[in-house]
């Protein structure tokens, strides 16, 4: 088959990825009850016949966002995989050919045509809507692949659609063997914001999650600092007796020996005091080359942090930098710095 990879990918638009697939169970009260409980959805129209009628329905209706749940294949079948359609196989081959082995779900749009009632039988088909031209993103170079799932009832009427957009990309740098690239929220300048992807509906085999960054060893002397980081506040410990700022923090003031302290929030402005560019060894939790700097804050204390959005060979000692945040994982946010004047809005 001729044409560039982009042309061949874009030629898939309109092709059917998943042929009509029927839900294993009709819309039913037990599944709705479990869903509503798990989601904390207390709307009585999903659980109580009278309440539903009082609200103008003919009876209990399923939660709208449960649409995609009805046609899920279940855990075992998802893990085991199954035969792919010709278009799906073609897409997989093209992605592999282009080295577009990494994936991140960027967003999903749902439209609902009508509410589902007990006894409805639902089917789904999935087609390729579009493939973008090649895009360079902070994660890597690749294509946004948009697919549309169309949900129908037993009469063939459309009850809802789901537009699903994935970035399929070549990682910026090769990942260590056995690890998957995972986006770092602050790393993306061009990448569209990553929506909350629901792994159960992601049409990809589960990839091994990226190892987490090393955990800080927290205790009564330093936990406050890391907790504030989760709120994106960079704190500096201050002796309340003599006013001396200190970092790394400790229980006692080395200047006046007071055990009393509070904190001040750093302005977030500083300059590069020294820095290193790490190449080896490559630890899977990080991208390399990895820049780590000692930053001297405007307040006078120094701290170690990553520099982001700057080419290593443009970094200079004395370069002004401003605070940024890395949300490494739900338990760990860390300060980082970018060159002053390149702040994101």
């Amino acid at each position: 088959m001729g044409g560039s990879l982009t042309e061949r990918l874009q030629a898939l638009a309109g092709r059917e990825l998943t042929a009509e697939t029927w839900a294993q169970d009709a819309v039913n009260q037990p599944m709705i009850r479990h869903w509503a409980e798990a989601m904390g959805d207390r709307n009585p129209i999903h659980l109580d016949e009278d309440a539903a009628r009082a609200a103008g329905r003919d009876g209990v209706v399923a939660p709208a966002t449960m649409l995609q749940a009805w046609t899920m294949r279940g855990y075992a079948a998802t893990v085991a995989g199954g035969p792919a359609s010709p278009a799906a196989a073609e897409l997989a081959a093209l992605l592999e050919e282009g080295g577009l082995t990494s994936v991140v779900a960027t967003d999903s749009e749902l439209e609902f045509a009508r509410e589902l009632r007990l006894g409805d039988r639902i089917s789904v088909t999935e087609t390729v809507e579009s493939v973008s031209p090649e895009k360079r993103t902070a994660l890597g170079t690749g294509h946004f692949v948009t697919t549309v799932k169309t949900y129908r009832d037993q009469d063939g009427e459309v009850v809802g659609t789901q537009r699903w957009r994935l970035l399929r990309f070549r990682p910026e740098r090769p990942a260590a063997p056995g690890t998957a690239e995972q986006p770092e929220p602050t790393a993306g300048t061009e990448a569209e914001p990553a929506a909350q992807a629901e792994p159960a509906v992601q049409p990809e085999p589960a990839e091994k999650p990226r190892p987490l960054r090393p955990r800080p060893a927290t205790n009564r002397d330093n936990a406050f600092w890391f907790e504030a980081c989760l709120e994106h506040r960079l704190l500096i410990q201050r002796c309340t007796a003599c006013g001396t700022l200190r970092h790394p923090p400790g229980p006692c003031c080395g200047v006046c020996r007071s055990f009393d302290w509070d904190t001040v929030e750093a302005s977030g402005r500083g300059e590069v005091y020294s820095f290193v560019v790490n190449h080896h060894p490559r630890v899977p939790a990080f991208d390399y080359p990895l820049v780590v700097a000692v930053v001297e804050l405007a307040e006078g204390t120094r701290l170690i942090a990553n520099l982001v959005d700057v080419e290593p060979d443009r970094i200079r000692i004395g370069m002004p930098v401003v605070l940024e945040w890395i949300d490494a994982d739900p338990q760990l946010s860390l300060p980082a710095f970018r060159p002053a004047g390149t702040e994101k809005n």
Partner: protein, 395 residues
């Protein structure tokens, strides 16, 4: 100009035996076996039986307990045992501990040892990436750098090196010259891992980045092996088979605002103040000056920190070490022939203890790269951590 020693420690004890295993990348034996082989070899060199040993010293990041070494080597009762903290910075402190024990009568024969499989076993250079975390202050200090990916000794040292280059205009070549001299000396030392394999400055320039500004050839090796030293009183030393290496001075130092490998919060980070503190003590204890020192063994886990050692110890002024080295003063025939065994870059990385053994050989006159007229040798321990050093001298 030398004056009288001021410390009762100066001249009280001597190193009378040195012993090591081969230095390899895969010893094929347990770490305890390496320790026993080294201890017994050092005792054999001294001509002292294991049953006479009543003291053992080592330092942290050592996997072999003193009691296991004593039991395995048939040493019997111990009246003195000491394990100094902070890893490689404590290498020379083991001799200080031994000398103090001998000087006070706490022990008569003390063996200092280091043995490990740091290449074939748990690799040392990988740093903190997968070490378990706990909430002790000892572990909590790592919280300020490991989450950011600043994980390995090379990376920690690179931060100092960058600032030193910025302040004094030193270049990668200035670091490279340290490695070239070490490998030149190692090439002539049959015990060295890099025996017969010298490098050029061009090789250094072409070696890959590890942690900029450090290249591969700025880094020492990881070694499997063991090294031990035997310390007795200077008086007893006179009756033994080798020319004794008298402990003229032995000192430890921890600087103000000291951190483990990351003392980045001091007003200036281009010096090694803890080494300055050690140097002042060495000269005060012994009554010697830098001019009385003819050779040195300078801890070279990474080349950049050799430069400020020369400055802190008074061999040149701050910022001038690069010129001192470029002028060839670390080589045979230079002002201060250094790391004549090949250093840890060229011989082996026994966390400094093999360097102390080379200091003993320099006093004995048996180095494979022996300079002429060596009366006093200065030996340093690990830098960027609380550290220690010795001056060994001839009778």
């Amino acid at each position: 100009m030398a004056s009288s020693p001021t410390s009762p420690l100066s001249g009280a004890a001597a190193i009378v035996g040195i012993g090591a295993t081969e230095f390899s990348k895969d010893s094929g034996r347990s770490e305890l076996q390496l320790a026993c082989e080294a201890v017994l070899a050092a005792l054999d060199d001294a001509g002292i039986g294991p049953e006479e040993v009543d003291g053992l010293t080592t330092f942290t990041m050592e996997g072999n307990p003193e009691i296991a070494v004593a039991r395995s080597c048939g040493i019997g009762e111990l009246s003195f045992f000491s394990r100094v903290g902070y890893g490689g910075g404590a290498a020379c402190a083991t001799v200080q501990q031994a000398a103090m024990a001998v000087a006070t009568g706490a022990a008569q024969v003390v063996v200092c040892y280091r043995a490990f499989n740091e290449r074939s076993g748990e690799r040392f250079g990988t740093g903190m990436q997968d070490r378990p975390m706990a909430s002790t202050a000892d572990r909590a200090q790592y919280s300020w750098f490991t989450p950011f990916g600043l994980l390995t000794p090379a990376q920690w040292v690179a931060m100092f090196a960058r600032r030193y280059m910025h302040r004094y205009g030193a270049t990668g070549d200035d670091f490279g010259r340290v490695a070239v001299v070490a490998r030149k000396h190692a090439a002539n030392n049959p015990a060295a891992w890099f025996h017969g394999r010298p490098i050029t400055l061009e090789d250094h320039r072409n070696s890959r980045w590890i942690a900029e500004p450090l290249r591969l050839l700025d880094c020492c090796q990881e070694t499997d092996g063991g090294q031990a030293l035997v310390v007795v009183s200077a008086e007893r030393a006179r009756d033994l088979r080798h020319k004794p290496a008298i402990v003229r001075a032995a000192a430890q130092g921890s600087g103000e605002d000291q951190q483990m490998m990351t003392s980045y919060y001091r007003p200036d980070i281009t010096g090694i103040p803890e080494m300055g503190l050690v140097g002042r003590q060495l000269y005060a204890q012994s009554g010697l000056t830098p001019n009385d020192v003819q050779a040195a063994v300078l801890y070279d886990h990474f080349t950049p920190l050799v430069l400020p050692q020369l400055e802190e110890l008074g061999f040149c002024k701050p910022g001038e070490a690069k010129d001192f080295i470029a002028d060839g003063h670390l080589e045979l025939g230079g002002r201060l022939p250094s790391n004549t065994h090949g250093g840890q870059i060229g011989e082996a990385y026994l966390h400094g203890v093999n360097g102390i053994a080379e200091g003993v050989r320099l006093i004995r006159g048996t180095s494979y790269n022996q300079p002429e007229d060596v009366h006093n040798v200065l030996v340093t321990a690990g830098t960027a951590v609380p550290t220690s050093a010795l001056i060994l001298g001839a009778e």
